[in-house]
Amino acid sequence: MGDEWEPPLPAGYSDVNRAFLQAFMARGTLTFREGQRLLAAIQSASEGGSHIDPASITMDEFQNFIRTARDAVEPLDFDIRNTRDQIRGGERVWAFINAHSDPATQLSTTHTPEEVAYVKRLLDAMFEQYNTPRMEVMAVDEGQALRVSRPAARRESNMNGNDNDDEEHQEDGAAAAATGRGLKHSEVLSLLSSLVAEGWLDKSLNGFYSLTPRSLMELWSWLVATYNESDADADDDWQRIKFCEACKEIVTYGQRCNEPNCTIRLHDICEDGFWRTRPERKCPKCSTPWEGNHYVGERAVTSRSGFQRGRGRRARRTEAAEAEENGADEE
């Protein structure tokens, strides 16, 4: 063997597929519309430059390319998964992901260990601190993101520091270094901005950071393993990561049952289809009438009267930005 070894490839795999794969990897994610534009450009290139209308690329063609690419990279422990965007009208998003993924492997190539440690603290804030049975925010605003810029202070180092100040100081330094020295606020803001630009975090108009569909796909199994209790009774106990009753995907932005102790959650985007199949708008588990005004995600905060009162000038500005955004979308 050796020389005669040939890598396994799907039938008919060619430069067209390789170009698609390279383009996909550079983008990280693709929506169908982006895929149409990309495939039109690729086909045009393979046919010597003739113009091809992106609208002529069908969903079947696109999915064929996705399937072929997936077959090609699967032996290398990469994967292509898709999910619907919980926030933006449920548009389906395909992502090129690493099959063994946790925040450290994902980020360690381009981020410093301190930054990776910060991201872990940020995720803890999202899924532990700001994700309680009463308030399932699963998102953090800027102030909350800055609050975890440094690791929580270690108590032990002070316990045996009865000698002179100098030594105590050194010990503190060593302990801090062991857990990562944390980030300056300006560094946190830069990191958040680049995580948004890289497509790991979403920043909402109200200023909340949450995980993008890409992150949720990439970190799916890690999130469940890290934040959920494995020995809990699957149905009855409250778990940090919950799944949509309709589509079974993770809910970080959606609705919850009006009964505070009930664990049923639903995406906004799955709601219509879900209720159409049911005789009544009641929780499928506890039969409490489903009013759709109890939320998972940032609306757990923003729908509360306290937040609304405090909005003042910011609300007007946000609406202006929203109008602008819509205007830009329509172009």
């Binding site: 430069d15 690729i42 290139a45 010597g48 990279v73 422990d77 450290a104 260990p113 901005s193």
Partner: protein
């Protein structure tokens, strides 16, 4: 604070280990759980396939952060105890990269003899036996036909941010093109003059221009990154004692591979808004490329090989050629 530094480095290593170690330890178990028939023939073939897979993943992850793929790194993080397998695993990974991704690993050229100090040259001459020197360092490049490498298909990758990546690629391509067309060497003041013309003498866009706290970065920092990543080489003659007139800029090994002569020619054509016979002639003379219609993908590899070959004739002839090219560059500018 040395302790902190050491710990930080240790932490970095740990993360690194996590990174590459993850697919590695589970290799035997993972393969087994995939299917029964594989369990029956856990022979050398499976093992090699596993190593090839790890090398492909290692190469991709290095490229992600523009870290060079080093032979030592491959031995340490991919091969482990199978150090003797290097040749076979490397060849397999090349095949896989070409077939699946349309990419391949290209060995970086060794340090240009022109750029060595007299001391280094003496050392190199002593240690150099009959063998051709090799850098044992590789970078991943795309081998897709040129038709596919258009902005509509291959976008700047989203590492840090697509906008920052685009700006960075544009800047190093520009600087490398200027250096190459100036004869492969540019003095510090002349580089600064070009940067001023590009309006980047003080600041350049940062890797993430969306970042409100640091949308731009000091030009010095960006140039340092270009040097660190092997796009540029900055050379200061030690005798001059840091006099900036004696500082010269050259194209680094990664720069030579990624921004080869064809790329520079294509870049110049784009800047000139198209191509005509005169421009093509000048490009041929300046870059020593053969006659070629733009857009026809041939001889790209040849150029890369020529580049990769260690520069055989240093000395005066090279410098004369350099000066001739310099004047041409001036001609182009004055047009």
């Amino acid at each position: 604070m040395p302790v902190q530094q050491r710990l930080r480095r240790q932490a970095a290593q740990n993360v690194d280990d996590d990174d590459m170690g993850q697919p590695h330890p589970q290799s035997p178990g993972e393969v087994d759980s995939d299917g029964d028939e594989q369990m029956a023939e856990v022979g050398p073939r499976d093992e090699t396939t596993q190593l090839i897979k790890n090398l492909v993943r290692y190469a991709l992850s290095c490229e992600y952060s523009r870290a060079p793929i080093r032979r030592d790194g491959i031995k340490e993080k991919v091969l482990g105890s199978n150090g003797r397998e290097f040749k076979r695993v490397f060849a397999g990974a090349q095949k896989q990269l070409r077939a699946t991704f349309g990419m391949e690993m290209v060995e970086l050229p060794t340090k240009d003899r022109n750029l060595m100090t007299a001391e280094q040259k003496r050392k190199a001459a002593k240690s150099q036996t009959q063998k051709e020197p090799t850098s044992n360092t590789y970078v991943l490049v795309s081998v897709l036909p040129e038709a596919y490498t258009t902005p509509a298909i291959i976008t700047p990758s989203k590492v840090q941010s697509a906008e920052g990546e685009a700006a960075y690629v544009a800047l190093y391509t520009m600087i490398i093109a200027i250096i190459t067309l100036s004869g492969g060497e540019l003095s510090e003041p002349r580089l600064r003059r070009h940067l001023t013309r590009l309006n980047v003498s003080e600041n350049m866009p940062s890797l993430n221009p969306n970042d409100e706290t640091s949308p731009s970065e000091k030009t010095e920092m960006v140039l340092q990154r270009m040097v660190r990543q092997g796009y540029l080489v900055k050379l200061t003659d030690s005798r001059s004692g840091g006099d900036e007139d004696q500082t010269t800029w050259h194209v680094g090994p990664r720069g030579k591979v990624e921004v080869d002569k064809e790329v520079i020619a294509a870049f110049v054509r784009t800047i000139y808004g198209g191509s005509d016979d005169e421009l093509e002639n000048r490009l041929q003379v300046s870059l020593k490329i053969r006659d070629r219609k733009p857009g026809v993908p041939d001889m790209v590899e040849e150029v890369a090989e020529e580049e990769a070959a260690p520069n055989g004739d240093p000395g005066p002839s090279n410098r004369r050629r350099g000066r001739r090219r310099q004047t041409e560059a001036y001609d182009e500018e004055s047009d």
